[in-house]
């Protein structure tokens, strides 16, 4: 067990940090620190392309698809330096973290050639079509249907239905969509994993206004939307396995970037407490110490998960990490409010929120999306501890 890096890894670190410092200037200087889903979108897409040109966009991918075949330690270093430089949240992450790895793992050679280079180059943005109004925690309860029909240029999938909680849909060129392609099927069977172009008349995007007053998510309506027959990943009817593969990719290096973001939030809270004198209150001091302990525990858990990626089995934190960070982040939001005091309840004249007030509200979603705390506890109890399964109705 070792936390430190080799000299050549530290050289790699210097290379990244210098590159970031050089490039996050000029037109990119004011997207530093931008973390919201939607702000400064056009500039951030250009930033994706800037990353892509220098092969920093998807460093873990093979070189032929625009990556650097970076090993684990290098990925960790990149994530750390990216966050340290306060480089903006990745608008391309749905492609780089989810669609791309899925195509790498399950796609055909043609699909890899067609899609991967444009993802790593930041030329095409992606979004995710999983959730539906009746498929929240019960992800397999998919009602969006697709059938194969003759189209103007050969066979094509025709899609009808609705997805929800689709972030970044308004900027996306493509969407990976789970559809029911076998009409009488139920649950996990008969689903297919389709790649669907977003710029077409059959697709309607409606923003969802959330409790922050902002709209980070969308509903996406498919009304005879189409995609070519070959834009299916894996076999027809076997889409569930592919989709689960995508979800498992979420437990990767991006965790470290998220942690650096959390660390910045905690630092802001500490600075504020020192500024307004709350730092002298024993209760606040203890809560800040506890938050810091949680953050360190998450960092350590991420390192345990990352070090374990080759083993084939799951290690403890892989089960417990989601519920831990989500609950931790929610408590951080409450702490932020208590440190801000009544001032933290003030908004801008048009209900604009400060970063810490937004944290307080937005973190309520952390324990809901990507598996509610209830679902996470079921998974831990049943898969990690081997307790009897919850019966379906």
């Amino acid at each position: 067990m070792k936390l430190s890096f080799t000299a050549s890894q530290e050289t790699f670190r210097t290379e990244i940090s210098e590159w970031l410092e050089t490039r996050l200037t000029g037109a990119f200087s004011d997207i530093r620190g931008v973390t919201s889903q939607t702000a400064a979108a056009q500039r951030r897409i250009l930033w994706e392309q800037e990353l892509g040109r220098a092969r920093w966009s998807a460093i873990g991918w093979p070189e032929e698809y625009g990556g650097r075949a970076a090993d684990l330690a290098e990925q960790v270093i990149f994530a750390e330096e990216y966050a340290r430089a306060r480089a903006p949240g990745r608008l391309g992450h749905m492609g780089v973290e989810l669609a791309g790895p899925t195509i790498l793992a399950f796609g055909s050679n043609d699909q890899k050639q067609r899609f991967l280079p444009s993802i790593s180059a930041g030329q095409e943005m992606w979004c995710q079509g999983y959730s539906e109004p009746n498929a929240g925690s019960d992800l397999a309860n998919v009602n969006t249907k697709a059938r194969l029909q003759e189209g103007p240029s050969g066979k094509q999938w025709v899609i009808e239905g609705q997805k929800i909680w689709t972030s970044l849909a308004q900027f996306a060129d493509w969407c990976f969509v789970i559809c029911r392609t076998e009409p009488a099927s139920q649950g996990r069977h008969g689903l297919s994993y389709l790649l669907v172009p977003m710029h077409q008349p059959g697709i309607d995007i409606r923003p969802i206004r959330q409790m922050t007053g902002e709209s980070d998510f969308n509903e996406v309506f498919f009304d005879k939307a189409v995609t070519a027959e070959e834009n299916i990943v894996g076999e027809p009817g076997k889409g569930w396995q592919v989709a689960m593969g995508t979800l498992s990719f979420e437990r990767g290096v991006s965790t470290l970037a998220q942690q650096m973001h959390f660390r910045n939030e905690l630092s802001e809270i500490i600075a504020l407490a020192n500024a307004n004198g709350k730092s002298s209150e024993p209760l606040i001091r203890q809560r800040i110490a506890k938050a810091w302990r949680g953050l360190q525990s998450m960092r350590a858990s991420a390192l345990r998960m990352l070090s374990h990626t080759d083993a084939g089995t799951l290690t403890g934190p892989q089960f417990t990490y989601k519920i831990f960070w989500a609950s931790w982040h929610q408590q951080l939001g409450e702490l932020a409010m208590d440190v801000m005091g009544k001032d933290g309840e003030m908004t801008g004249s048009d209900y604009q929120l400060s970063d810490l007030t937004r944290l307080f509200l937005f973190s309520r979603a952390d324990t809901i999306y990507a598996g509610t705390n209830q679902i996470q506890r079921n998974l831990i109890a049943e898969r990690a501890l081997g307790l009897p399964k919850e019966p379906r109705g």
Partner: protein, 360 residues
């Protein structure tokens, strides 16, 4: 000793429930939130004039209903179930308590009948160094009471609302996370004399001002209990309807237990609020700790229930469209209104005789 409601009290409760049904739909609440004065004139008229709620605590001789705090608490509990913005708290509890606590019959004769008649909304601002932050209802008030805490608690009553005193004071509406309660900053402009009724100063004024806040804590607490109960009721309804994995999610034991825990907190808070409201009438010396008891217990229950409401509603509970966030934000504002929960617990600690000197 009798700790159940009388028939009259039950009737008051039902009357207010009817009012809420007519005037406090989600749409009506959102419209009232968006008004400039912070509440809807029509529903305030229905509340204060038609139902006479503004005069609940006003003695009969001044045209009020002469009821006790416990009756008022029932009203606030019901109103708290919905979050309709109104100046009832600051008018019927804060201002009336302040006025009845002062031994100034002229003052009482001048304003209490107007309040009882539903004729005016009143706000109360405690200023320090000429400024009061986070004053409830000042923007929409017809009468503004100022207490200069740093000037021997000089009390001044300004008739006619902030608009009539442009030269002497400045009232700035604040935009707050919780949009269901109108908050303002009140500032005395330098070198201006206040042209209002001088309603006393000194320790008597300070005591009356404190009492006004303490009664308000109990009313706020009642409101919070009502709001928490709504969170529970709406969530129970939702989990009976919402199906996942082929079952109503309310059939999952973990969900059931979360709802049970909400009820546990609510019932304890409700008991505490009723108890404190009765106690302060029968035993006025206990007011400081009883106000803290009610406010903190109810505020914590609401904070818990509103958070669980969002969690158990899933994504839909996180949208602007659903009312869950209104309760969640109300929970936050209640926890810090007038005093924070920690400050109120500190009052209890002092009343319990906990020595705060560091031992040598």
């Amino acid at each position: 000793m009798q700790f159940e409601f009388t028939q009259e009290q039950t009737m008051i409760r039902e009357m207010v429930l009817d009012f809420s049904r007519d005037h406090a739909s989600s749409q009506q609440i959102r419209q009232a939130m968006a008004t400039e004065q912070g509440y809807d004139q029509k529903s305030w008229h229905a509340m204060s004039v038609d139902l006479g709620l503004a005069g609940l605590l006003v003695p009969v001789e001044f045209g009020g209903q002469g009821l006790e705090l416990i009756d008022t608490v029932l009203v606030f509990e019901q109103l708290g179930g919905r979050l309709l913005p109104s100046p009832l708290l600051e008018t019927a509890v804060m201002a009336v308590t302040l006025m009845t606590s002062l031994a100034d019959e002229a003052l009482q004769r001048k304003w209490l009948p107007r309040i009882a008649a539903g004729d005016c909304a009143v706000a109360f601002a405690r200023l320090d160094n000429g400024v009061a932050e986070y004053v409830i209802g000042a923007q929409g008030a017809d009468v503004l009471i100022l207490c200069e805490d740093d000037n021997n608690h000089q009390l001044t009553i300004l008739d006619g609302g902030p608009g009539h005193h442009h030269g002497a004071i400045k009232v700035s509406r604040l935009t707050m996370l919780d949009q269901t309660r109108s908050m303002s900053r009140v500032e005395m402009l330098p070198a201006q004399k206040l042209n209002g009724y001088q309603a006393g100063k000194g320790s008597l004024a300070a005591a009356a001002a404190n009492r006004a806040h303490q009664f308000s804590h109990i009313a706020l607490a009642a409101e919070a209990v009502g709001a928490a109960q709504s969170c529970l009721d709406m969530t129970v309804d939702y989990v009976k309807e919402r199906h996942q994995f082929g079952r109503a999610i309310g059939s999952f034991q973990a969900v059931k237990h979360q709802l049970a825990d909400m009820m546990v907190d609510i019932e304890a808070a409700r008991s505490a609020v009723y108890f404190s409201a009765c106690s302060v009438s029968e035993n006025p010396a206990q007011l400081p700790e009883m106000a803290s008891l009610a406010r903190v217990q109810a505020s914590e229950a609401l904070t818990h229930c509103a958070a669980e409401m969002i969690q158990l509603h899933g994504g839909i509970g996180f949208t602007w469209e659903h009312d869950a966030h209104l309760y969640f934000k109300r929970a936050r504002s209640t926890a810090t209104l007038l005093q924070t929960n920690s400050e109120l617990d500190e009052i209890i600690a002092e009343q319990l005789g906990l020595n705060s000197q560091v031992a040598s």
